[in-house]
């Protein structure tokens, strides 16, 4: 996306990495300046997505997920063999699962994008 701001002939700074959607959610829904002169507008399902992107509260589910991940490590090896697993990351099924939540949030947003056009979602309270 090109922008539009120019000031007295300043150069364009390089952007090594732009944000993905999950990062954008972390940033602009959570941070930034807030003042009190707002008109209320509805926001499309954002709170839902934000919650989904934020599952870091420890729970039994989390614990079981960690335990499963441990089980997927090959612990039939001797204990001293365990650190060797560090270098052994191309094998085993554990890798696929590591992304999980953020990707899921991305999917959800994509879904929302297509949904919100057709069926009018119940407007949510916003600022």
């Amino acid at each position: 996306m090109t922008t539009g701001i120019q000031q007295g002939g300043g150069g364009v700074a390089a952007r090594p990495n732009s944000s993905g959607l999950a990062d954008v959610i972390d940033t602009i829904l959570d941070k930034g300046l807030v003042i009190d002169a707002y008109v209320r507008v509805s926001l499309v399902g954002i709170e839902l997505v934000t919650i989904d992107a934020r599952v870091v509260v420890a729970s039994v589910d989390t614990y079981l997920r960690f335990a499963e991940a441990v089980n997927r490590l090959d612990i039939s090896q001797e204990k001293e063999g365990l650190p060797g697993l560090v270098g052994d990351m191309t094998e085993g099924g554990a890798k696929h699962k590591t992304k999980g939540v953020l990707d899921a949030a991305g999917d959800k947003l994509r879904d929302l994008a297509s949904d919100s056009r057709e069926e009018e979602r119940a407007p949510r309270r916003g600022r």
Partner: protein
Amino acid sequence: MTTQTETGIYIYGILPGDVELEEETTGVGEPPAPVRLVKFRDIAALVSDVDVAKPLGTPQDLMAHEDLLDASAAEVPVLPMKFGAVVANEDAVTGEFLEPHYDGFRAALEQLEGVAEYVVKGRYVERAILAEILAENPAAADLAAQATSAGADLMASREQQIQLGEIIGQAVEAKREQDTQVLGDALAGQVSASVVRPPSHELDAVHVAFLVEANAAQRLEQALTKLAADWDGRVELQLIGPLAAYDFVGMTPPDPSQSPGG
């Protein structure tokens, strides 16, 4: 022109007044609305018309908001608004927004002259961090061994699994804290301020926003590259930026001796 009752003014952020906008710049809404500047004295609000009857917040809206502000921040100081700031009309932009907050906005813009925000995110490589934790924690390693051999007794096994997972969860938290400290120390020389963000995933290793002077950005990247090499195979690091200083607006003014540019 739409009638006033249906239209509000969406505010993206505040900038110095001496900026110019390219004509085709667009923002939130469907179709994306043209963006313009509303000036007051030597500051300006970056705004566009918005239909208040239509919900905002599609992925396009979110990206438009941040892209516009980040791209602006690469050129000039910007005070980014949180997504969703709308006032009634253009008079309200000046009368209720820019004018009453002028001194604060002006001072904050000065603070941000020549600096930008960078966010460092790191995610643990699952197998690596679990192996590390088991190697350091005999109790967890024992439980892991028992859990697999106790396969027949399902209830006992489930309890052990939960216990094991809890130990690992706590160990990950401790490592996150430790590694956040390591990151902070590694970048301390290159940054003016930092804000630790809450983790956004259970395997998050670090998630920190840094305020960085333009001339320190390259050194920041070098320091981070070195850390990434130290953590190779253990943490996947990502540098995002330069961004508008979302994490640093609204905080108390930094120590003047630290303030860039004077």
